[in-house]
């Protein structure tokens, strides 16, 4: 073949240039440290405000407001999706990278703290500590130090479909286990299930089994935190209650694959009369789908021992590898101020983690949710909380499908959980 007009070396120039770029790009992947460095502060935020436009506008306003209040600091709030949240965060923090500040929930803190990738935020909280709800601070505290500063509080409660209750001739929404058991046969005769449930392995037990456990007077971990406690009589009582409802058809069979997504589940589709861990956002969606008049928000469900629901603070944590700790603390302190708590609460439909700030609820059921806040339990913070959930969830499925009795299922999960806790460093 006749050689081309360009020489071999000139032909090689383009790929060599690409090679250089590739090497430079690869080099860019390594080294460095977390955050923006210098005067910059990077924040990872999630779509806490459901409307994407409102969410973007709100955090844009926060950026401008903070930079006005702290001239010379370059704040960058990066929006991250909820999907694969821990996967991305763990990868970033594990690589010594990630943002300076990140939004965290109480169930994330123990594990990240145990791995040494978070810095306490007590200094940023300062004198404002007394103004916060003690339960909100306790949920974010580990080994006596605060690892995320609460900036909002969520709450869940019971949600009923008035039309379906009326179809079964039920006038008083069932708010206790006993009332729920009594209503189940009547609702079944009317062709609907009673209670929605999420038993998927990806559904947080904080929104499914644990509230039933707490209502029965049980706990997930014992006082020492070195053993599980859900296998006790209270746990068996809670799981027996759930299994009985499932076997009778009062909990729909789709529960096995449900993952706490209101619109994707039988409750959202008006096939079930009630849920017991529904958020204000669920109530708003229900009003759109079912019609405003059909939505009832009740108090937290009461079990044989307690009336308790789930609700937790969301807070800002600081990356232990941050190169601008001072800037990060300034931002955390800025977001904890009453003005920011109130504006975020209004924009996202949240409640205030501060006792001296009341967010004026704008939703149709704000009063009911405000009342439910008194019963909102943020869960039991433990560094193995998520691992234990991963061990317990399949056993709950085994009880629902009849493969094991509630007692056997919980005993198997407790055995695996205790072995895991014994392995913990």
């Amino acid at each position: 073949m006749k050689p081309p007009t360009t020489s071999g070396s000139s032909r090689a120039a383009v790929p060599l240039l690409l090679l250089c770029l590739a090497v430079l790009a690869a080099a860019g992947c390594g080294g460095g440290a977390a955050g923006s460095g210098g005067n910059g502060v990077t924040v990872w935020m999630y779509p806490v405000i459901m409307d994407p436009k409102a969410n973007a506008a709100y955090w844009d306003g926060v950026e401008k407001g903070f930079e006005r209040a702290h001239p010379g600091t370059d704040l960058r709030i990066e929006q991250q999706p909820w999907v694969n949240r821990d996967q991305k965060l763990a990868t970033a923090l594990g690589g010594g990278k990630g943002p300076d500040v990140v939004l965290l929930g109480p169930d994330q803190i123990p594990q990240y703290q145990a791995n040494g990738v978070l810095r306490p935020v007590d200094r940023a909280l300062g004198k404002a500590r007394a103004a916060f709800r003690p339960t909100a601070l306790a949920a974010m505290t580990q080994d006596g130090e605060l690892y995320a500063a609460p900036i909002y509080h969520t709450v869940t409660s019971t949600l009923y479909n008035r039309r379906l209750l009326a179809k079964a001739g039920i006038k008083e929404p069932p708010a206790t286990w006993a009332a729920l058991k009594a209503a189940a046969p009547r609702l079944k005769r009317a062709g609907v299930a009673t209670l929605d449930y999420s038993a998927s392995g990806e559904a947080s037990l904080n929104m499914s089994f644990y509230p039933l456990l707490w209502q029965a007077g049980g706990r997930v971990f014992d006082e020492s935190g070195k053993k599980t406690a859900f296998g006790g009589p209270e746990g068996v009582e809670a799981l027996t209650f759930l299994v009985r409802l499932y076997r009778e058809g009062a909990v729909p069979r789709s529960a096995l694959t449900n993952a706490n997504l209101f619109t994707d589940q039988a409750l959202g589709r008006q096939q079930v009369a009630m849920g017991y861990t529904n958020t204000p956002a669920d109530a708003a969606l229900a009003a759109q789908a079912w019609g405003k008049g059909n939505v009832i928000v009740g108090p937290a469900l009461a079990g044989p021992r307690k009336r308790v629901g789930f609700g937790m603070p969301g807070g800002l944590g600081i990356n232990a590898a941050s190169r601008n700790t001072a800037g990060a603390e300034k931002f955390v302190a800025y977001m904890m101020a009453p003005a920011q708590i109130a504006s975020l609460g209004r924009a996202g439909g949240f409640f205030s983690p501060r006792t001296d700030v009341t967010v004026p609820g704008t939703g149709a059921h704000a009063k009911e949710y405000e009342a439910a806040l008194a019963y909102a339990f943020p869960g039991e913070p433990h560094r193995a909380a998520r691992q234990v959930q991963a061990l317990l969830a399949p056993e709950i499925q085994a009880a629902l499908t009849g493969e094991k009795s509630p007692r056997e299922a919980l005993a198997a999960a407790a055995e695996a959980g205790d072995a895991l806790l014994a392995r913990q460093r």
Binding site: R11, L18, L19, A26, S200, E202, T401, E403
Partner: protein, 366 residues
């Protein structure tokens, strides 16, 4: 793909026997290349179809001359050839660097991590084979391994039968062939998450499409994703729908490379359509078919997304695969050393499949 391409070119001498790139071996039809017949299997006991004989492509019999001793290959090259070789290397280099940085590097990193107790903050302790020893005693690991193996056994035949069936139909159809080919390939380029969500709706026990159809027939409802015995076949069927397009294209290419004379000879010998397919086409398609089987098996062993979206590994871990176990170990338990050990075991399994494929398909083509 290279194996498919090799079906379209006549077999030549052993690759190892080739000389440098500019070696000019005897080409097809060379004077010293006697054609030997290749017998295609006939159905046992069927006397109506004698074995079909196909003239084999010419086979080289002369080995290339050995290189002169004392000088390296580089030293024997002319300046122009050297420039050309350097240019070739430069063209390959960017991809090679990317491959080393993003494939080989992380793999070696995973080997190292699998020998450590690695913490999220970067602290690590060397524990030797500790993670591997733990794997052997981990009931969850073996459960996940069993689920993955069973899924592979279900998924691979489903996909290959579906792919072969559609490839044969497309091969025989001339009318709108391109349109149908695109249509059948469409699920393959669809997002697996999207496909899994749609299939979850189809399988739903309360008002899913399948149960609505079954209800119309007075059957069901069947809890496809809530039953421990049905969940794997259901996910395998959904994944087969999603994945058969790729194998279909490979098999179609294989079918199109079957020499027309062979099937014509079988027609002359009186073979009907099924006999031609079973005893002529299928044996000639065997290397391609085997390639597809191995590729699909490798893919099946890495299943994760469909299970994550459709069942989250349930019910009672009946759809909890090896990659799901790896994912949980890494991103739920933050046990990265252990997760890397799982990854390397998976790598070994896939490597075994690949070696089998290389050995058996290679032998078939040679």
């Amino acid at each position: 793909m290279s194996r498919v391409e090799s079906r379209e070119t006549p077999p030549e001498e052993e690759p190892e026997a080739r000389g440098p790139a500019d070696h000019q071996g005897p080409g097809p039809g060379g004077a010293d290349s006697p054609a030997s017949p290749v017998a295609v299997a006939a159905p046992p006991g069927d006397r109506t179809i004698p074995p079909v004989t196909v003239p084999a492509p010419p086979v080289a019999t002369t080995a290339p001359a050995p290189p002169p001793a004392g000088r390296s290959r580089w030293g024997r090259m002319s300046a122009a050839r050297r420039r050309e070789a350097l240019a070739g290397l430069a063209f390959v280099a960017p991809m090679l660097v990317l491959f080393l940085v993003f494939r080989i590097g992380p793999t070696l990193g995973a080997v190292f991590l699998s020998l450590t107790d690695y913490r999220l903050n970067g602290d690590w302790t060397f524990i030797g084979a500790g993670n591997y020893a733990r794997l052997l005693d981990d009931r969850l690991f073996w459960e996940a391994f069993g689920v993955t193996a069973l899924y592979t056994v279900l998924y691979v035949p489903m996909t290959v039968v579906l792919a072969l069936g559609t490839a044969v139909l497309l091969h025989r159809t001339l009318w709108l062939r391109g349109f149908f080919r695109g249509l059948f390939f469409l699920p393959y380029v669809t997002s697996i998450v999207l496909a899994a969500v749609i299939w979850k709706w189809i399988y739903e026990v309360e008002d899913g499409l399948l149960n609505s159809v079954l209800g119309g027939l007075g059957l069901g409802p069947v809890d496809f994703l809530g039953s421990e015995s049905l969940v794997l076949p259901s996910i395998a069927a959904a994944s087969a729908w999603k994945g058969f397009g790729y194998s279909m294209l490979i098999l179609l290419a294989g079918l199109q490379s079957v020499p027309r004379e062979v099937t014509e000879a079988a027609v002359i010998d009186g073979a009907n359509g099924w006999q031609r397919f079973r005893w002529v086409t299928l044996p000639l398609l065997r290397p391609v078919l085997f390639f597809v089987l191995v590729i699909e098996a490798i893919g099946a062993f890495q299943v994760f997304d469909a299970m994550y979206v459709m069942t989250a590994g349930g019910p009672v871990r009946a759809s909890y695969s090896l990659v799901y176990f790896l994912y949980d170990s890494g991103f739920k338990f933050f046990d990265f050393g252990y997760a890397c050990a799982v990854g390397l075991v998976l790598f070994l399994v896939v490597l075994v499949f690949s070696l089998i494929q290389r050995r058996l398909v290679g032998r078939e083509v040679d």
